[in-house]
């Protein structure tokens, strides 16, 4: 790829992909930006003039805004906490030699292949249903009153469903990280008088720190945008309205495209701030 001809040929051949990707990203982003400065109500008169930053002000001053930020933070934080903690434990467990290791690993990874909509519906109807759900049967078999999951502990329910989906991802990445740990290091620590817990704390956990940062980074970016799980279960009711869901409601339920677009731009900015922050942390971690 050094001659002039081959370089321009390369550019020519890359162009379709680059143009497609740019278009895919830039067109919706630009449209969102344009809409966000308009008063645009498709079913109530359509375009009604430019309004400057009014949509932006209205979006953040609405009474639904801060609760939705809070809900987002709780869901992202809760899922990260559960998936990383359980992911580490599962990874250590799966790293032990055992019979049927390959089969068990595939089973552990399986939830990741289930579509979010499907897993939300399965959890809602087969596990958390107050009348026929497996969990309510379990509660009743102990003589307890079944929990009405999705309305009484709606936040916990959503966090559980999403955690179930993302646990395989965390486990998989952490498992490969654990497998790269030199067993002589653990033996050296054992000879040095470190009991099991100290070995975990001083050797295994620092070894995993890089993988953990990556898990947190990737999951956060995806978790900020979860939608299907909420849509098919609570529909944003009972305090489960996240920022993403709020934007959806503004655009499709209130049919206020301008207001929703302003929210969308906020979400883009927020996600980018977060991504940059995490990138710097990861970068620092990867330098070592």
């Amino acid at each position: 790829m050094s001659t002039k001809a081959s370089r321009s040929a390369a550019r020519l051949m890359l162009a379709p992909a680059v143009i497609l990707l740019l278009g895919w990203m830039l067109v919706p982003l630009t449209m969102t930006l344009i809409f966000s400065f308009q008063r645009y109500l498709p079913l109530r008169g359509g375009f009604q003039g430019w309004v400057g930053f009014e949509n932006y002000v209205r979006f953040v001053t609405s009474s639904a805004f801060w609760p939705s930020v809070q809900a987002t933070v709780i869901i992202v934080g809760g899922v990260l906490l559960i998936t990383v903690t359980l992911g580490i434990l599962l990874a250590i467990l799966l790293d032990q030699p055992m019979w049927g290791q390959g089969m068990v690993r595939i089973l552990v990874i399986a939830p990741f292949f289930v579509m979010p909509t499907v897993s939300g519906l399965v959890w809602k109807n087969m596990f958390m249903d107050p009348n026929n759900g497996l969990l309510s049967h379990l509660w009743r078999s102990f003589g307890a009153d079944p929990i009405i999951w999705l309305s009484d502990v709606s936040m916990l329910s959503i966090v559980l469903i999403v955690s179930w989906q993302w646990l395989p991802f965390a486990t998989l990445i952490l498992l490969t990280a654990i497998q790269s740990l030199d067993s002589e290091q653990l033996e050296a620590a054992e000879m040095d008088g470190a009991p099991v817990l100290s070995r975990f704390w001083h050797i295994i956990l620092p070894h995993l720190s890089r993988a953990i940062t990556i898990v947190i980074l990737i999951q956060t970016i995806f978790l900020l945008a979860i939608f299907a799980e909420i849509f098919v279960t609570t529909q944003g009711a009972f305090g489960t309205r996240t920022l993403t869901y709020l934007i959806f409601q503004r655009v499709l339920e209130s049919q206020n495209v301008g207001l929703g677009s302003a929210g969308g731009i906020y979400a883009v900015i927020l996600a980018n701030i977060f991504a940059l922050l995490l990138m710097r942390i990861v970068g620092k971690n990867l330098d070592r």
Binding site: A188, M191, D192, I203
Partner: protein, 334 residues
Amino acid sequence: MGQIVLEQVTKSFGEVTVIPPLDLTIEDGEFTVFVGPSGCGKSTLLRLIAGLEDVTSGEIRIDGRPSASIPPAKRGLAMVFQSYALYPHMTVRKNIAFPLRMAGLDKTEQDRRVKQAAAVLNLTDYLDRRPGQLSGGQRQRVAIGRAIVREPAAFLFDEPLSNLDAALRVGMRLEISELHNRLKTTMIYVTHDQVEAMTMADKIVVLRAGHIEQVGSPLELYRAPRNLFVAGFIGSPRMNLIEGPEAAKHDATTIGIRPEHISISAEEGRWSGVVGVSEHLGSDTFFHVHQTGLAESITVRADGEVSFKHGDRIHMTPRDDMIHRFDDKGSRIA
């Protein structure tokens, strides 16, 4: 104190017996080297002593105490691993202090011992670096430092020099020997390199397939190898082994003669052959002589200044008092 006694120790992994019953005594303060080809069970033996593997049967006594129920950390042994096994996220200081921290020593005492060890090992300037920023030799020294600070009853070395380049290996060999002279602690050293074994050991244990072939001082093994395996393993270049009529003249199935015990001449000698490759080391020259009618090739050591060319016909005379005789089972005939 650091006397280690192995009594009828065996080790099997499932169906495979790695160590058949084995007895061995390592005296306090001795530098013992386990040597043998790869897969001979020498590392397994070391790990059994360390407690990283359980013995299948038999008993290991450290200072007279049966060790079966004592966990590795409590045996008072320190181990240096082949990969050094340093903790990559800790500085050199923290690496060396780790066993002390685990033992719950107070900070000032930890610091004092780390400084002392660092001074002994020339690591003082590197205490705040991480293992990734050190050279191979320095990492090796950190690993040794981590072993020293515990003031163990015995050191266990598992092929510690095999990842170093040749020049560094010679240097570290000296350093470890110096360390032993200074500390006078029992050391057990595993290697497949007979040069390391010869130069460092007070006592060499030659192992093959889990069996002890011979135990003795380096010179005992050199002068009187008990069988063909030890004869071939100890000494560099290898001893020449000759079978057939020439061996029969000495009432043996096989005779062995070391390259350094054969004199060489252009005119006359008991044996003759054609020079193949000659290796000039400066101080010595090794000739590989072919077409002798005795063995496929005979190695001869000569003075560095002797120069025969490829294809020259030369004559060789072995020193009769240096001929080792072995019977049909490969055992030495006294």
